[in-house]
C-alpha cells in the first residue's frame, strides 16, 4: 500500500547525522563534562586545560554574571556569604534538613513560604537549583564551544541514593540551564559503564563510590552489554567533606580554637584539613601551620595514624552499608568478580585499604576516579542520542529507597520496596469514607522506616472529581509510576465509572511548575526569549519527533494496519504537517494529540509485535 512520505530538504532528520550529546557529572566538590568523539570518550578541559570544574559559585552584585569554579574558590574565605560550595548537599532538601546537615553552614538561609530553601546573596536569594544551574551552564558552554555545535541532549549523573526530591531538583537545574536532560543516570552505574565498556566484563561487579559529599555502593550484574543493578545503598550526606570536617575539628581541639570561630576561619580550617588529607596520600606525615584569630600561628603535625583514627568510624559506616547492599542483591562477597573505585575520596589510602580488605580483592582504579562517572554518562548520552543504533548497551537500574503511603496512625505502608527495578508501576485502591465525598489526599513518602515522621515526605497528592457516591462505593485506583530516571508520577482513576480524577501535587521539597516557569523566564538562558515563541518551538520539536517516528514506524510495520486505518493516520499526519509551521502552539499541540490518538492502537500493536519477536524461536513447544 502507498504510504505517505513527507520530507522536505533540510527538515527530516538524516539517519547518519551525528547528534551531539554529553555526559555531565554534577559533583559536590567538582563537576565535569565528557563527550564521545570519533569513538573516543573524554572529559573536556576548559581554556586553561583544566578538566575539573570546582562546584563553587560566587555571586556578584551589579548584575554581573556569577563566577564559577576555581576563581570562585579563591574568594571563598574573603566572601563566604556569596560564595556557595557543596550546593549538591542542599538539593531537594528543606530548610529544616539543611540545619541538620551542616553543623555550621557559612550561608544565610532565607525563611520563605516556599518549600525550597534560598540562600541570601548580593545577587538576590538563590535556590540550590539555581546555583546548580550556573555550574551546568558553564559546562554546557564548554561542551558547545569544543564541539562547535549545540548540544542535543545530556545525561546528568546523580548519586544512586538520591531520593525523588533530589532527583527532581537536579533535573530542574538542567532545565534551568537550558539543557535537554535525556536521562538522570546513577553515578555508580555510569562508572560501571565506563569500566565495562570493552564488553568483556561479565559477572557481579561492586561499585564503591565515595565522593565529596555522597556515598553510594551498587551491586551490578554485567551480561552482554546489559548492566543490571541488583541493589544500591548509600548515604547522601557522607563523603570526603566529612573527613575534612573530622580533621578540622581535631585541629580546633588541638589549637584551642573555639566553636565561635568566624565563617572565614572555619573555611580556612576546612581548606587546610583537605590539603593535609590529600598530602597524606603521598607522605607519612604533614606539618600544619594554622593562623589564629589573635594573629598567632599554631603549629602541629598530622600523621597517617592519626588521620586513620579520625576517619575510621566514617569508613566503618560505608562497610555496613556495603554489607546491606550485598544482602539486598542476594549476593555473597565471594561472588563479586570485580570492585570498582569511584570518587575523589577513594584516593584516601585508608579507604582503599579497608575496601580491599572487605571484598578480599584488589580494587580497580585504572580510570581516574574523578572522571570515570562523566565518561560513563557520555557513553550513555551517545547511545540515547541515537548515534549507536545497533549498540547493545542497556542499563537497568533500581529505586534506591522504598516508596510508601501514609496510613492511619501516622504509619507508612510500602507500595514499592527499595531495589525494585525501574521503570515500575504499582496500583493501590482507595475508597471514600463519607457519603458524597469527591476528593481525597494521598501523602507519598520515601524511606525505609515505619513512621511517617521518620520518612521523607515527597508530596501531597490531592484527588478531585471523584463522582459522588455512598461511602465505600467508589473505587479509586491510584497508580504510582517510577520512570527510568527514578522519578515518581501519580495518576488516579475512579474504577466503577472510569472517571479520571485530577491530581494536584504539592511537592514537599521541590519547585512547583509555576515556580520553574518563572525561574525559566528569569534565567540568563531565556532572558531574551519570548515565552510564546518558546512554546511554539517546543511544540514544533515534538511535532517533528512524532512525524519522524511515525514515518519510520509505517515503513517498518505498515503491514500491521488495514487500508482504512492507514487512511485515518495519513489524514491526521497531513493535518499536523500543515499546522506545524504556524505560530499557534495550541493548534500544533492539538494536531499532535489527534495524530497520537489515531496511532495509539498502532503503537501498541507494534510494541506487542516486537515483544513477540524478541522471544520468537523459543516458544512453549520447547518445554514439552
Amino acid at each position: 500500500m502507498a504510504l505517505l512520505q513527507i520530507s522536505e530538504p533540510g527538515q527530516s532528520t538524516k539517519p547518519h547525522e551525528r547528534r551531539f550529546a554529553a555526559g555531565i557529572d554534577l559533583g559536590t566538590t567538582n563537576s565535569l563534562v565528557a563527550t564521545v568523539r570519533s569513538g573516543q570518550t573524554d572529559t573536556l578541559p576548559d581554556e586553561q586545560g583544566e578538566h575539573l570544574l570546582p562546584s563553587v559559585v560566587r555571586y556578584l552584585d551589579n548584575e554581573q554574571a556569577p563566577v564559577v569554579g576555581k576563581q570562585a574558590i579563591q574568594s571563598a574565605a574573603d566572601d563566604p556569604l556569596n560564595t556557595i560550595s557543596s550546593v549538591k548537599r542542599f538539593m531537594g532538601r528543606g530548610v529544616e534538613d539543611i540545619k541538620h546537615l551542616g553543623d555550621r553552614l557559612p550561608y544565610e538561609f532565607v525563611q520563605t513560604d516556599t518549600s525550597v530553601p534560598r540562600i541570601r546573596t548580593v545577587a538576590g536569594d538563590k535556590s540550590p537549583i539555581e546555583v546548580s544551574a550556573e555550574i551546568l551552564h558553564v559546562l554546557k558552554q564548554r561542551a558547545e564551544k569544543t564541539l562547535g555545535d549545540e548540544l542535543k541532549g545530556v545525561v546528568i549523573t546523580v548519586p544512586a541514593y538520591f531520593d525523588d526530591a533530589q532527583r527532581q531538583a537536579t533535573k530542574d537545574a538542567g532545565k534551568l540551564a537550558g539543557l535537554n536532560v535525556m536521562r538522570l543516570l546513577n553515578e555508580p552505574t555510569a562508572a560501571a559503564v565506563a569500566y565495562g565498556l570493552d564488553k568483556s566484563a561479565e559477572g557481579i561487579t561492586a561499585v564503591f563510590d565515595l565522593g565529596g559529599g555522597t556515598f553510594d555502593i551498587s551491586i551490578l550484574r554485567l551480561n552482554k552489554g546489559v548492566f543490571e543493578v541488583l541493589s544500591t545503598a548509600g548515604d547522601t550526606a557522607l563523603g570526603g567533606d566529612d573527613f575534612d570536617r573530622a580533621i578540622a575539628q581535631w585541629i580546633m581541639s588541638q589549637a584551642n580554637i573555639g566553636d565561635d570561630a568566624s565563617h572565614g576561619v572555619i573555611r580556612r580550617l576546612l581548606h587546610d584539613a583537605r590539603t593535609a588529607k590529600e598530602a597524606l596520600a603521598d607522605v607519612e606525615s604533614v606539618e600544619l601551620n594554622i593562623d589564629l584569630q589573635d594573629g598567632g600561628v599554631w603549629q602541629g603535625q598530622l600523621d597517617r595514624e592519626q588521620l586513620n583514627k579520625l576517619i575510621d568510624p566514617l569508613i566503618q559506616k560505608t562497610l555496613i552499608t556495603s554489607r546491606r547492599a550485598l544482602r539486598d542483591a542476594k549476593v555473597t562477597i565471594d561472588e563479586v568478580k570485580a570492585v570498582v573505585m569511584v570518587g575523589g575520596s577513594t584516593r584516601t589510602l585508608r579507604v582503599r585499604e579497608k575496601i580491599e580488605e572487605f571484598f578480599g580483592q584488589p580494587a580497580m582504579v585504572d580510570i581516574d576516579p574523578d572522571k570515570v562517572v562523566a565518561v560513563g554518562a557520555a557513553i550513555q548520552a551517545d547511545v540515547l542520542a541515537g548515534n549507536k543504533p545497533d549498540d547493545e548497551l542497556l542499563l537497568l537500574d533500581v529505586i534506591p529507597l522504598s516508596l510508601g503511603l501514609e496510613t492511619m496512625g501516622g504509619l507508612v505502608e510500602k507500595i514499592i520496596p527499595r531495589n525494585t527495578t525501574i521503570p515500575v508501576a504499582r496500583a493501590q485502591d482507595f475508597t471514600t469514607f463519607k457519603d458524597g465525598q469527591t476528593g481525597m489526599t494521598v501523602h507519598v513518602l520515601q524511606g525505609e522506616r515505619e513512621l511517617v515522621s521518620d520518612c521523607r515526605s515527597l508530596g501531597q497528592f490531592s484527588l478531585q472529581g471523584i463522582p459522588a457516591m455512598v461511602a465505600g462505593a467508589a473505587r479509586i485506583r491510584v497508580t504510582f509510576q517510577v520512570d527510568a530516571d527514578g522519578l515518581l508520577s501519580v495518576t488516579a482513576e475512579e474504577e466503577t465509572r472510569h472517571v479520571e480524577a485530577s491530581i494536584q501535587i504539592k511537592p514537599s521539597y521541590g519547585l512547583t511548575d509555576s515556580e520553574i516557569e518563572s525561574m525559566l523566564k528569569d534565567s540568563i538562558e531565556h532572558a531574551k526569549d519570548d515565552v510564546e515563541l518558546r512554546n511554539v518551538r517546543e511544540q514544533q520539536v515534538e511535532a517533528d519527533r512524532v512525524m519522524d517516528a511515525l514515518q519510520i514506524a509505517l515503513q517498518q510495520d505498515g503491514d500491521l494496519l488495514t487500508a482504512e486505518e492507514v487512511t485515518t493516520i495519513e489524514k491526521a499526519l497531513l493535518t499536523l504537517h500543515k499546522v506545524r509551521d504556524g505560530e499557534d502552539h495550541h493548534k500544533i499541540k492539538n494536531a499532535i494529540d489527534k495524530l497520537n490518538d489515531a496511532t495509539t492502537e498502532f503503537a501498541a500493536r507494534r510494541m506487542n509485535n516486537s515483544i513477540k519477536q524478541a522471544l520468537a524461536g523459543h516458544q512453549v513447544d520447547e518445554f514439552d
Binding site: 546489559v226 547511545v383 540515547l384 508501576a425 527510568a484 517516528a549 515483544i611 522471544l615 516458544q619 512453549v620
Partner: protein, 179 residues
Amino acid sequence: MAVEFTQNYFEIFGLPVDFQIDTSLLAERYRELQKTVHPDRYANASDRDRRLAVQQAAHINEALNTLKLPLKRARYLLELNGVEFDDEKETTMDPEFLMEQMELREAVADVRKQDDPFASLNKLMESINHKQSTMIDRLQELISTQEYEAAKMQVQKLQFLEKLIFECESLEQDLADAL
C-alpha cells in the same frame, strides 16, 4: 492505553507455568525483552511512545519481580490456581510456629545487648535465612503434589518470616545510624 497484558507472567517469558523455574533462562529472556521495550530504546520517540515503553518495561519488571522470588512466585502460582489470599483477615497459625516466631523476635530484641551487635545480628539473620530456605523446599513439595490449602498456609508462614527479616534489617539500620 491499549497495550494488552493478557498473558500471565510465565507466558510473558515463554516459561512453563510451574513453581520450579529455570532462573538463568528467566534472567536471559528478561534481558531480551528489556532490550526491546526499555524506554531508553525510545529516547528519540514521541512522548506518547515513550510513555508506552515505560508501561511495557514496568509490566515486564513486575513479571520478573514476581517470578524471581520463590515466595512471590508461589503466591502468584496459587492465585492462578484459584487460591484466594485475604491479607486483611487474621489467619490462624499452628501454635508451634507462633511460639517459634516469638522466640525469634525475642532474640532480635536481645541483639542490642550483645557485645558485638552487628555480628550477632548477622548470625541471627543467617539462621533465619536458612530456616526460610528449608520452608521454601517444603512449599515446593506442597505445590507439586497440588496440596494448595497447605501450600497457602506455608506461604502465610513465610510471609511472617519475611516481616521478621525486615525487622532485622531495620534494626541493623538503627544500629548503623547510631554509630
